[in-house]
């Protein structure tokens, strides 16, 4: 009895410290491993940091800048970058950094919606083609071939001509432009997984197709698709900002990133910061997304 009470605190302490070093749940262990993986690669760390920062801009822009993105101080017009205005000011005296920060939510929301459209429609097509095969596969394969034959920006422009202008329409147009790649990757994965031994075993032991699909095929074919999501995010940022540059996104004075760059066109000779700094932000986000995509592919291969 006394021995027990004496030793219990000790064992408890040992137990908790062991739990901290080796978390018991698989999810926590995976999280820890991912964190260690990122920390060992400085380039990847910077990429993740850039994406997190930009996501934070989108969620709580007020936390990063106190300046108004829409109302400027006319006396401060066209000032070069300084301590007070990190990215300088535009022709109406608006702080460009504030506009970039507030524009993040517009651009990222459109981009995210575009990725979701491409992912959902493309994966569904790929899943159907790879799972049902036969004539369904043929029809979907032909459709994908045709979508690949039209340059994606022209396909997007055709959809915008039909739907009209606006952020949601731009998102749909960009998303449809990436359907073909998602369909292709998903189909290849589903084909690979559904011919594997464990799927056959699941079938042989009497599991129904929907359950096989949900429990075995989808989880095992998601890896390359997730890497493609990150890659497509970068591509979609480029496409969305190109369309917003051309003037098809949210109408001014909304600070969508492409529109910001476009707005600086008239001041190329005098105010370099109006185009260069928002442009560099777009470049940083795309580079970061591509870097993360590469890391996701690598981990997928290692497994």
């Amino acid at each position: 009895m006394t021995l027990q009470t004496l030793t219990r605190p000790d064992t408890d302490a040992a137990g908790t410290s062991a739990a901290a070093a080796h978390p018991r749940t698989p999810a926590a262990r995976r999280g820890l491993r991912a964190a260690r993986h990122v920390l060992r690669r400085p380039g990847l760390l910077v990429a993740v940091a850039v994406l997190l920062l930009v996501a934070a801009w989108a969620v709580v822009p007020q936390a990063f800048t106190a300046q108004d993105p829409l109302v400027g101080v006319p006396a401060d017009r066209l000032q070069a970058p300084s301590g007070a205005h990190w990215f300088g000011t535009d022709h109406l005296g608006r702080d460009v950094y504030a506009r970039v920060v507030h524009g993040a939510s517009l651009t990222l929301r459109t981009t995210a919606l575009a990725v979701v459209v491409g992912l959902v429609v493309g994966s569904l097509l790929g899943l159907l083609a790879g799972f049902l095969r036969g004539w369904v596969d043929d029809v979907i394969g032909r459709l994908v071939d045709v979508l690949l034959a039209i340059p994606s920006i022209l396909l997007s422009l055709a959809i915008i001509t039909a739907l009209g202008f606006g952020p949601v329409k731009v998102a749909i147009a960009v998303g449809i432009g990436s359907v073909a790649t998602f369909a292709r990757v998903m189909r290849a994965e589903v084909l690979r997984v559904s011919t594997s031994v464990y799927v056959e075993a699941a079938r042989a032991s009497g599991l129904r197709w929907p359950a096989v699909l949900g429990r075995h095929v989808l989880p095992n074919s998601s890896g390359p698709v997730i890497a493609l999501v990150a890659l497509d995010f970068g591509t979609a940022v480029l496409a969305v900002s190109a369309l917003s540059f051309l003037g098809y996104g949210t109408p001014p004075p909304a600070p969508e990133w492409g529109a910001l760059v476009s707005g600086g066109r008239d001041y190329l000779a005098t105010a370099w910061w109006l185009t260069t700094l928002p442009g560099l932000v777009i470049v940083a986000v795309v580079l970061a997304a591509n870097r993360v995509s590469r890391a996701l592919e690598k981990t997928g291969e290692d497994q």
Partner: protein, 331 residues
């Protein structure tokens, strides 16, 4: 060979038909009223006399069932007639044909620059002995594909038209005006090519025959250029169709940035004015270009790589997956 050629041409025609069909239904199922657009002449849609609208609908055949319109449009498209512009009243085909030469000049120059530049960067990223140099050069292609075309164009304008006035900022006058747009358009295409080619080069340099070349005492230059590059270039060659399509798409933004006349500007104008027939014509033309380039690539492929025979039942090499790192994404 003839059978193969016929099958590939048949496939090409199918793709063209399907591209036309998809574009037609996307564009003609649009929620806005084309007749009102025609009546307003591309400007603001204002109050238009209903009788006039009905007359316009009858004139353009918009009052008929969609499938009938589609059938007629398809028959007309076979003769090269892709409809009449809602805005200018001219034939869409002739408008596209008129804008095409300037864009061909631009995309042609950009294609040459992209191939030469992309190959040079790819070789340079595996050639140097110094590791840091190889690493620094390998970082260029991923950077190139992350640059928005409009951003590259504007930065070039800023430096080489305004700060140091070497090149004109706008217009189509002479070869000088072509320099900056060509560079702008070539950056993403060249970077894409360099990415694929340098990956392919790295793989090839590990092949046994390259080892043999080293062993028999071939120089570094000879091993890289004569042995490795020739074989590594073949898979990169298959992305040509996608590259040319991408250049046509990129011309939309490039021509807008540099205020050049051409197909891209025509496209932007037509989208702005919802000039459906012209947009349709541009889409069909881009699909045609893709089909032709892909077909030519497929036919030239066996000449470059004798191991590949045309009669073999293989699906045509699918170019766009190559830009997606096929060995990594789909493997």
């Amino acid at each position: 060979m003839t059978r193969y050629l016929l099958r590939r041409v048949g496939q090409g025609i199918f793709v063209l038909w399907a591209a036309f069909t998809i574009a037609f239904f996307v564009l003609y199922l649009l929620p806005s009223d084309p007749a009102a657009l025609i009546a307003s002449g591309g400007g603001e849609v204002s109050q238009v006399d209903p009788a006039q609208l009905a007359a316009l609908r009858a004139e353009y055949g918009l009052d008929r069932p969609l499938l009938v319109q589609y059938g007629d449009a398809l028959l007309a498209a076979l003769t090269g007639d892709l409809g009449t512009s809602y805005v200018s009243g001219a034939s869409a085909t002739s408008m596209v044909a008129q804008a095409l030469p300037e864009t061909l000049k631009l995309t042609g120059a950009a294609l040459v620059l992209a191939v030469v530049g992309g190959t040079a960067v790819a070789v340079a990223s595996v050639f140097p002995r110094a590791r840091f140099l190889r690493q620094a050069l390998s970082a260029l292609p991923p950077l190139g594909v992350a640059l928005p075309t409009f951003f590259v164009g504007l930065v070039l304008l800023q430096w080489f038209s305004f700060r140091v006035p070497v090149f004109p900022a706008i217009g189509n006058e002479g070869a000088v005006s072509l320099v900056l747009p060509t560079i702008t358009l070539a950056v993403p295409a060249g970077a894409q090519l360099a990415q694929i080619l340098s990956r392919s080069l790295r793989g090839t340099l590990g092949e046994p025959y390259v080892e043999t070349a080293w062993a028999k005492g071939a120089s570094r230059t000879r091993v890289h250029l004569a042995h490795a590059l020739r074989n590594a270039a073949i898979p990169a060659f298959t992305v040509l169709g996608v590259m040319v399509g991408g250049l046509l798409g990129g011309a939309v933004v490039t021509e807008t940035v540099f205020s050049r006349v051409g197909l891209g500007r025509l496209t932007v104008q037509s989208v702005n004015q919802q000039d459906v027939p012209v947009v349709l014509a541009v889409v069909v033309l881009s699909a045609l270009v893709f089909v032709v380039v892909t077909l030519v690539v497929d036919l030239v492929y066996p000449l470059l790589d004798p191991r590949i025979q045309l009669r073999a039942e293989r699906r045509s090499p699918s170019p766009r997956t190559a830009t997606l790192r096929p060995d990594e994404v789909t493997a």
